[in-house]
């Protein structure tokens, strides 16, 4: 599903990722732990090309991330192609990043309708099912500010799932939550891992710390 070979990433002169090798197979659940600032988020963001890698090879489902190889040459993908790839990968952020001007339901149907050109009826139907699944059936019309942190993060997970991704990335999904709210989010994630919503292939990598930093304290959580 995800294959990294000697992946490197620098921010200016700062080496963030120093040769990451890793493989995630379909249905695998993988967690990365490490101190803050060790590059966990950066690596996750490289997987859906929110960051560009500087060296090495990174591929999802056998295809390079952000590039296309033809013979010996590597071509940069056009914006539209990058977007298409991203649409197949769900991402959940530390700070939820729900769209505050849209209701929970609208947050879920926006991308399926605009990006995948689904009909509103189909998208809404799935969105309602997903909200029900994360235990927020009655919050369909609530705006993000009317929800608690844990509820917001569950909506964010449902929003990512609404695109029917083949891979889910969780970037410290519980570290911005009050301790008593962590449980509800972890429960949802655990349920996803056990009976993957879209059967076969749902691999997820909750909170990845960089192996380069050699582990360290557990800054992360995962089921």
């Amino acid at each position: 599903m995800v294959k990294a070979e000697a992946v490197q990433k620098n921010f200016g002169r700062l080496e963030v990722l120093r040769g990451i090798d890793l493989e995630v197979k379909p249905r695998d659940v993988m967690c990365m732990i490490g101190p803050s600032g060790s590059g966990k988020s950066t690596f996750l963001r490289c997987i859906n090309h929110l960051e560009k890698i500087d060296a090495g090879r990174l591929s999802v489902d056998g295809e390079l991330v952000g590039y296309r190889q033809r013979g010996d040459r590597i071509y940069e993908l056009r914006d539209a192609e990058v977007c298409k790839k991203r649409a197949e990968i769900g991402m959940v952020f530390q700070h939820f990043n729900l769209f505050p001007h849209l209701t929970a339901l609208e947050n879920l149907v926006e991308a399926p309708i605009r990006v995948k050109k689904e009909s509103r009826a189909v998208a809404s139907e799935r969105a309602r099912r997903l909200l029900d699944r994360v235990g927020l059936a009655e919050k369909v019309d609530a705006y993000p500010r009317q929800l608690s942190g844990g509820q917001q993060q569950r909506v964010a997970i449902a929003r990512a799932l609404a695109m029917q991704p083949k891979l889910m990335l969780f970037d410290e999904p519980t570290s911005a939550l009050d301790p008593e709210l962590v449980g509800e989010v972890l429960d949802v994630m655990r349920a996803l891992a056990e009976d993957g919503p879209f059967s076969r292939r749902c691999s997820r990598a909750p909170t990845l710390p960089s192996p380069a930093s050699g582990g360290g304290k557990s800054g992360a959580s995962g089921p």
């Binding site: 929110l50 977007c83 991402m91 990043n97 505050p100 001007h101 926006e110 995948k116 695109m163």
Partner: protein, 298 residues
């Protein structure tokens, strides 16, 4: 929590905190208000100053409800609305261009904003009015065919059009900065979340960033543009045709310059228009506007 079932504590009866500062402030404000009103009242009673012949109040009274003034108000309103429309549309395009990844677009937008903000709007209006000096006619058509439209610039750009172009294009430059500030104010996480869902640049901007930016844009619009217009009004004619300043100290000359009287005539309806504009709270900020309501600092 669960203990003490059925026992309800008595409601608290406390002496409220006193706020002497509020009383002091009220007394000071009241004293100043009484003093100001008394001074003005005394001056009116004393006929020689405020309402006397020197200030031209009779002239003001005569022309305040003159048809010319009303036509002026109409033209002003028309110009304001149209210039605003031109400004908002062009300004939004310029702001998006300025933040575009395309360096040519960004640079062109920067140049436009720099030029139109840097030159006085009055000069720009004069330029459009006298465009005929530079460009005699405008011809649009398809090369090597006979499909051509021809227009004399003096006919294409009557005075109203010149004012609209001058104000609108100038407004667009200011608007672009306001829209840009609004766009930048939207948290970057919003863009990232939208990108992670596979949205392209245009979708992210149109569906996610701009709707949220509107709250800040509308707030800044109300704050700056309305205030700016008032300034233009005063600044626009603060020198008379002979180059003498219009606003004098009353003691310097036996009577105010006639232009100052004209200015008063214009200022009264203008204030009647502006004051309600700046006083209406909140409205129109849209869905996002309801998101955050300010509470007073305690």
């Amino acid at each position: 929590m669960a203990d003490a079932v059925g026992v309800r504590p008595a409601a608290i009866k406390a002496v409220p905190v006193r706020h002497p500062g509020r009383w002091v402030a009220a007394i000071v404000v009241l004293a100043i208000a009484v003093y100001v009103l008394y001074t003005i009242g005394a001056a009116i009673g004393n006929d020689r100053t405020v309402l006397g012949p020197h200030t031209g109040w009779l002239v003001v009274q005569r022309f305040l409800f003159n048809g010319l003034i009303f036509r002026g108000i109409l033209v002003t309103l028309e110009l304001t609305v149209l210039a605003m429309a031109v400004g908002i549309i062009l300004g939004a395009i310029l702001a998006v261009m300025r933040l575009s990844a395309n360096p040519v677009m960004s640079w062109v937008s920067w140049l436009y904003i720099w030029f139109f903000r840097g030159t006085p709007v009055l000069v720009q209006i004069f330029f459009w009015f006298n465009i005929n000096l530079v460009v005699k006619s405008i011809d649009i058509g398809i090369p090597f065919t006979s499909l051509w439209l021809h227009g004399d610039t003096n006919k294409l750009i009557p005075p109203f059009m010149a004012a609209l172009l001058g104000l609108g294009l100038n407004e667009a430059a200011y608007m672009a900065e306001i829209v840009r500030a609004g766009i930048i104010s939207v948290e970057h996480g919003q863009t990232e979340a939208a990108q992670a869902l596979g949205m392209d640049r245009v979708l992210v901007m149109r569906r996610i960033v701009l709707p949220q930016a509107m709250r800040v844009i509308i707030r800044d619009l109300r704050r700056s543009r309305i205030a700016d217009r008032r300034e233009h009004l005063v600044r626009g004619d603060d020198v008379d045709p002979d180059g003498r300043p219009v606003l004098h100290r009353a003691t310097l000359r036996p009577r105010l310059h006639p232009a100052a009287t004209a200015h008063t005539v214009a200022a009264i309806p203008a204030d009647a228009l502006y004051l309600p504009c700046t006083a209406t709270p909140g409205g129109g900020a849209g869905r996002a506007g309801r998101a955050r309501q300010r509470t007073p600092l305690r």
